[in-house]
């Protein structure tokens, strides 16, 4: 956890004329990432092309591990361990003199990305994303499916959203998509 932002900074020092992009979850941002935004604010004026874009998936959930609790162990999400406190990453970036863009709905995605690619200061894109979309493995074993339903039966807080989204994802795999 946490290499996204420092990797992107090191890439920028090594290749200051290329666009560097970090893809980071809100857990890693709160662990170390927001501190290193201060480093970006300190150094970015040195770079001939200052475009360094930090994309934060803000779902207030340690999402991968939450899914692992469900699918690998068969437990419901443990809110005390999994919930990530609310934080406005875009406003924090603005406070540091960087650009901060909050992406709140799907229609805003492309304009926000275009703005980020065309801004001459580093940008934090704070993307409010849905934690109930399952990162589905390519092959679902019987044990994984059983654990998933067990997590629901044990009273997962997001049970209904999860069932809905997972159903949609799984169904997509079996639709006859024309190549």
């Amino acid at each position: 956890m946490c290499p996204g932002v420092p990797y992107a900074i090191a890439a920028k020092f090594a290749y200051p004329d290329r666009v560097s992009i970090a893809l980071v979850g809100d857990g890693a941002m709160q662990m170390m990432g927001i501190n290193e935004l201060i480093t970006i604010a300190k150094y970015y004026k040195r770079w001939p092309d200052p475009r360094l874009i930090i994309i934060v998936l803000n779902n207030q959930d340690l999402n991968m591990v939450t899914w692992e609790q469900r699918i690998m162990v068969g437990d419901p999400k443990f809110e005390a361990s999994q919930d990530v406190p609310a934080f406005n990453y875009a406003k924090y970036a603005q406070m540091l003199g960087l650009e901060g863009i909050r992406v709140e709905k799907e229609d805003d995605i492309i304009p926000a990305l275009q703005q980020a690619m065309n801004t001459r200061v580093p940008v934090v894109l704070d993307v409010l994303s849905d934690p109930s979309i399952p990162p589905l493995p390519p092959h679902i074993t019987f044990k994984q499916a059983k654990n998933f339903y067990s997590s629901i039966l044990k009273g997962d807080v997001n049970a209904w959203d999860m069932i809905k989204e997972t159903y949609k994802e799984v169904i997509e795999n079996y639709l006859p998509h024309k190549a």
Partner: protein, 411 residues
């Protein structure tokens, strides 16, 4: 004024071609900070917020440039903070040198403030080389060996500098019994396996009807060779996540990522193939590789220790991936039956439609797959992507279509 040990060390790093050091100061390393200040026209000190971040940056520098990465910290707590980033470099086989301060020699063993047994602390992560400079005449070979070993073994090394030694006058090793006289300069060899082994590998690949290729970060620089071999063998190519940037995803036979974060075409490729060629990969999840004994397999890796590790491969070729593939290509016969390849290409085309349909499903408020689906075509051609762990790694693995010229890594 005589040159201090610190000034010598900084000059030696410059002679080795080091242009940048990531780190954080403290009184255990202030001698070197002074030397970095005196040499600031030739070498850049980048101040991070935390030593762990400095070690990650040194690792990323190595990953993205192929050069050695250097990080620096003070004694005790600063040294401990470096560890996580150093393990990242060790586990991803990146050359990184850590320069770490220590209490003065006379205080060692005295339960002194911030005195940590740094040898023991770094003995795992920097097990190939961790030493303390106790005498000025030692400085030269410690730096030379730390860099040379980091590069030749693609690993982490560590030089510990007691703060009083940093400020001593530097002396060259005397021409006498017990002294060590090292030199600089290194260039990586281009290792090619023996012809006998190449021919044995070619025989296996020529006999296969359904060939799968799995590539990792070690295949970087061999894209053209892999494309040619995939064409000859009618093979599909899956990519371990660290090798995501090695081949573009717009090639019709690239099945994309493999593993828990991988694609269905990669999974099917591995489950249905009869022959496997692994190039520069340490992909660890055996449940996503063919069942043991089900396929004939060939592996290429520059590091002999990594051969036959994840699958009981029949032929193991220790060598540079590009040079080895170049030597292997003339021994391969073009597969006339293209049915396997056509089936794979159909599945890959269909898979991209599945991903698009998943991305377009409504969510509250934003479907993360939709965000990545829209991001992918807007990425500049030569951008550098750095992904973190978590569900974001899944969307990076699946929804980003790499193009030629991009770089990418993650941990």
């Amino acid at each position: 004024m005589a040159q201090q040990v610190s000034d010598f060390i900084v000059q030696r790093l410059i002679s080795w071609g080091v242009k940048r050091i990531f780190g954080y100061p403290g009184d255990g390393i202030n001698g070197v900070m002074g030397a970095l200040n005196r040499a600031k026209d030739k070498i850049d000190f980048i101040q991070t917020r935390h030593e762990e971040m400095a070690a990650f940056m040194a690792c990323a520098h190595a990953k993205f440039t192929g050069e050695v990465g250097v990080c620096i910290s003070t004694s005790g707590p600063g040294a401990i903070h470096l560890l996580n980033g150093l393990y990242d470099a060790k586990m991803d086989h990146q050359p990184v040198v850590a320069i770490v301060g220590q209490q003065a020699r006379m205080s060692m063993g005295g339960d002194y403030q911030q005195e940590v047994d740094l040898h023991s602390l770094f003995k795992d992560v920097a097990h190939e080389y961790v030493h303390t400079c106790t005498s000025p005449a030692q400085a030269r070979h410690l730096i030379d060996r730390a860099i040379r070993i980091a590069r030749t073994h693609r690993t982490v090394t560590c030089v510990i500098l007691p703060n009083d030694v940093q400020e001593l006058d530097y002396t060259e090793p005397p021409h006498t019994h017990g002294s060590v006289h090292t030199g600089i300069s290194y260039s990586a060899p281009e290792i090619v396996p023996s012809f006998t082994d190449l021919q044995a590998a070619a025989d296996i690949l020529n006999q296969g009807n359904k060939v799968a290729i799995l590539i990792g970060a070690g295949a970087a620089g061999a894209a053209d060779e892999i494309i040619e071999i995939a064409e000859i063998l009618g093979a599909g190519v899956a990519k371990a996540l660290l090798g995501k940037a090695v081949l573009p995803d717009d090639l019709p036979f690239v099945t994309g990522s493999i593993g828990l974060l991988g694609t269905k075409p990669s999974y099917d490729l591995m489950m249905e193939c009869d022959t496997l060629l692994m190039v520069g990969t340490n992909f660890p999840y055996s449940e996503f590789l063919p069942k043991e004994g089900k396929v004939k397999a060939v592996q290429i890796d520059i590091d002999g220790r990594m051969l036959g590790l994840r699958y009981p491969t029949d032929i193991n070729l220790q060598g540079d991936s590009r040079k080895t593939l170049q030597a292997l290509t003339p021994l391969l016969e073009k597969k006339k039956d293209r049915a396997w390849r056509e089936k794979l290409e159909d599945e890959i085309r269909r898979w991209w439609k599945v991903l698009e349909a998943r991305a377009m499903k409504s969510a509250n408020p934003i479907n993360p797959q939709r965000f990545f689906w829209e991001l992918s075509p807007l990425l500049p051609d030569n951008c550098i992507l750095s992904a973190d762990s978590g569900s974001i790694a899944s969307w990076f693995a699946m929804d980003i279509r790499m193009r030629k010229g991009m770089k990418a890594s993650l941990r």
